[in-house]
């Protein structure tokens, strides 16, 4: 197990907590690691691995790094790992309800859009310099 590998302890937990606010059960962690091995080529560059390793060392930075990657590096390894975890979580009875569309009042929709928009701007503002720092770091 090496840092920045999907088998590294805590990575599945970290991503699950980030996405749905709960730890990943063992079967989800196992499926996530298997999916990463099947889907992702083992040829990610040093910068990509450094970003993943940085987010593992600094879990508080994950949301900001993900938001920044969505803007400027949509194919980043970190983002792919997060999306794979999203796919794995969405297809479990535990996670499904947290991914299904949810009807809201008009005010609820407007509030969600505004809140998410403000959060996204905040994350991007913090995430872009963090990303520059993370990709120069060690993996």
């Amino acid at each position: 197990v090496i840092p920045g590998s999907p088998d590294s302890p805590g990575e599945a937990d970290l991503l699950a907590r980030y996405l749905i606010g709960r730890a990943a059960p063992a079967e989800v962690a196992d499926r996530y690691a298997r999916a990463c091995r099947v889907i992702l080529a083992d040829d990610a560059g040093a910068e990509e691995r450094a970003i993943v390793a940085f987010s593992l060392r600094h879990p508080w930075a994950l949301g900001a790094l993900d938001g920044a990657c969505a803007l400027v590096r949509p194919g980043a390894l970190l983002r792919r790992r997060i999306l794979i975890m999203a796919a794995v979580l969405e297809t479990t009875p535990m996670g499904a309800a947290l991914f299904l569309p949810r009807a809201r009042s008009t005010l609820g929709v407007v509030w969600t859009v505004v809140r998410v928009g403000v959060t996204a701007v905040f994350h991007a503002a913090i995430g872009l310099p963090l990303l520059a720092l993370a990709q120069r770091g060690r993996s």
């Binding site: 938001g67 983002r79 969405e90 499904a96 991914f99 569309p101 929709v109 969600t112």
Partner: protein, 532 residues
């Protein structure tokens, strides 16, 4: 020797075989016939939301055992193919490879062909749509009726009827979901003005059973149509093949890849590869019906004639999709039980004399939310919150445009060296056609804005992604080389008949599958008359 060999098992093959078999002709069908034996048995006969909350095995069919349902990385499938539908393209890269860097061509070696994943939208062609063929709509009329009864069509006689025809018999339309009902209600209030601008809207006409029909259906409204063929409610060619299989004069041979044919006195000899034994084998018949799909039929004809590096014309409906926010859904609760096929259909005839555009309106839920996160310029968590709130209001417009062959659109068979022959596809659009498409899309989006649907982006998934192909061996009143007569007979060949989309010289924007089936039924009927 049998009477007729039919190549393929898709929409055209099944309906070309039907009149032959029912006329008493001995028919042998040669087909690769891939099926899904892995995922289909896993999917419970319950609704999408029930499954999501209870089935611990759902990841197997939603993501696939090799995670082929996660659409990025090294594992590639067609964007429209879910893991339970991935059998539709299985084996094509190895057996029927294509060199098409600018064309997302799709072929099928599946039982039921590409129609095994058909969206089931039906439309009749009118005289204008058939103007480039030697046919009139009245020539197809009895065959449309025969096929519509066979496959089961549901819909309403509404504003779309002048454009799409009236299907007979027609079951009541499938119940629209809340978002579609909101759009339709607005349209009914504004229809006079919109129709004056060439915009017509109605419930989708679908090859699906809203009530029991031929031991199929009714549709269970489980919102799983992209994943399973529950209760056989949505038409697939294999339902017709199952019915044909009960007759004594039809023989279906799977695991056969037809390579070429050679005419000889009194009939035709067909060379096929038996994929189980790996051996080549020969079949003989009085007549051959080629219905292997546009690409597959072109391969067989060109290889049989030794015409390598010889371009054939090609048409393929240009396609784009446009996610829209449907403000009519603000604050409204979506209904749980719904179908995932096209909810509504619109036809839009722009000014400037451009050809009409054809629009299918979908709601988005059962294709899973994580697939949307990939393309959002938001972190995944923020994207998830946003999509959960907005998905009940999201409609996807699938916009199809007409197409005709030009020198910039062609397919060519190239020798494969030690491997199988490869099909090279060239396809690009001219400036004039691109401008006409833009005008049509503006007219479409203007019409939907008037109905409270605001487009958030337009996505072009690439040439060929409509999976509607035609024009390679076109019907002509005076057929030349590599063309066919009005009965599908290949010029210069006595015993070889084409019965698939290859015959249509060009494509209107509306879906072609119903017309392919009706024309195949017509060609099978003519051939039976000739043979008996």
């Amino acid at each position: 020797m049998t009477d007729v060999i039919v190549v393929g098992s898709g929409a055209s093959a099944a309906h070309a075989a039907w009149p032959l078999v029912h006329a008493g002709v001995m028919v042998r069908m040669l087909d690769v016939g891939n099926t899904d034996r892995v995922y289909a048995p896993l999917i419970p006969d319950r609704s999408f939301t029930q499954i999501r909350g209870t089935d611990p095995e759902q990841h197997r069919y939603f993501l696939g055992d090799q995670f082929e349902g996660i659409p990025f990385g090294q594992v590639r499938v067609g964007a429209q193919l879910t893991p339970p539908r991935s059998f539709i393209t299985r084996g094509t890269q190895e057996l029927t490879p294509m060199d098409a860097p600018a064309f997302s061509g799709m072929e099928s070696l599946a039982l039921g062909g590409l129609a095994a994943g058909w969206g089931a939208g039906v439309a009749r062609f009118n005289d204008q749509d058939l103007a480039s063929t030697p046919l009139k709509a009245k020539d197809l009329e009895p065959h449309y009726r025969a096929v519509e009864e066979r496959i089961g069509v549901c819909g309403e006689d509404d504003d779309l009827s002048p454009e799409l025809g009236v299907h007979e018999p027609m079951m009541p339309a499938l119940r629209p979901d809340t978002a579609a009902a909101a759009i339709l209600a607005r349209y009914r209030r504004r229809r006079t003005g919109l129709m004056g601008e060439g915009f017509r809207l109605g419930l989708a006409r679908l090859a699906a059973c809203s009530r029991p029909h031929r031991e199929r259906g009714p549709h269970p409204y489980h919102d799983l149509d992209f994943w399973a063929d529950q209760r056989r409610a949505v038409y697939r060619p294999r339902w017709t093949l199952d019915e044909l299989g009960a007759r004594p004069n039809v023989e279906y041979l799977a695991s056969r890849l037809v390579l070429s044919f050679r005419e000889k006195p009194g009939g035709v000899e067909i060379a096929a590869l038996n994929l189980e034994s790996g051996q080549k084998e020969t079949h003989e018949a009085r007549a051959l019906v080629l219905a292997a799909g546009v690409m597959g039929t072109a391969r067989i004809v060109l290889r049989s004639r030794g015409l390598y590096d010889h371009p054939l014309p090609l048409a393929a409906n240009p396609y784009c999709y446009a996610p829209c926010l449907n403000l009519g859904m603000l604050g409204r609760e979506p209904i749980e039980s719904c179908h995932s096929l096209s909810q509504l259909t619109a036809t839009v005839t722009p000014r400037h004399g451009d050809r009409p555009a054809f629009v299918s309106v979908y709601s988005y839920r059962s294709l899973l939310t994580f697939k949307l996160l990939k393309d959002a310029p938001l972190g995944a968590r923020a994207g998830l919150q946003m999509f959960r709130a907005l998905l009940p209001m999201m409609n996807i417009l699938g916009i199809h445009h007409a197409d005709a062959p030009t020198p910039a659109k062609s397919i060519t068979l190239c020798r494969g060296g030690t491997g199988p022959d490869r099909l090279a596809v060239r396809y690009s659009l001219g400036e004039e056609q691109t401008a006409a498409m833009q005008r049509a899309e503006f007219a479409v989006l203007r019409g939907f804005r008037a109905l409270g649907c605001y487009c958030v982006s337009r996505i072009r998934p690439g040439h060929g992604s409509s999976i509607h192909y035609a024009g390679t061996l076109p019907m002509s009143r005076t057929p030349g080389d590599l063309q066919t007569d009005r009965d599908g007979r290949l010029a210069g060949q006595e015993s070889v008949v084409i019965a698939d989309g290859s015959l249509l010289p060009d494509l209107p924007a509306k879906g072609l599958t119903l017309t392919l089936m009706a024309n195949a039924d017509r060609i099978g009927t003519r051939l039976a008359e000739r043979l008996l």
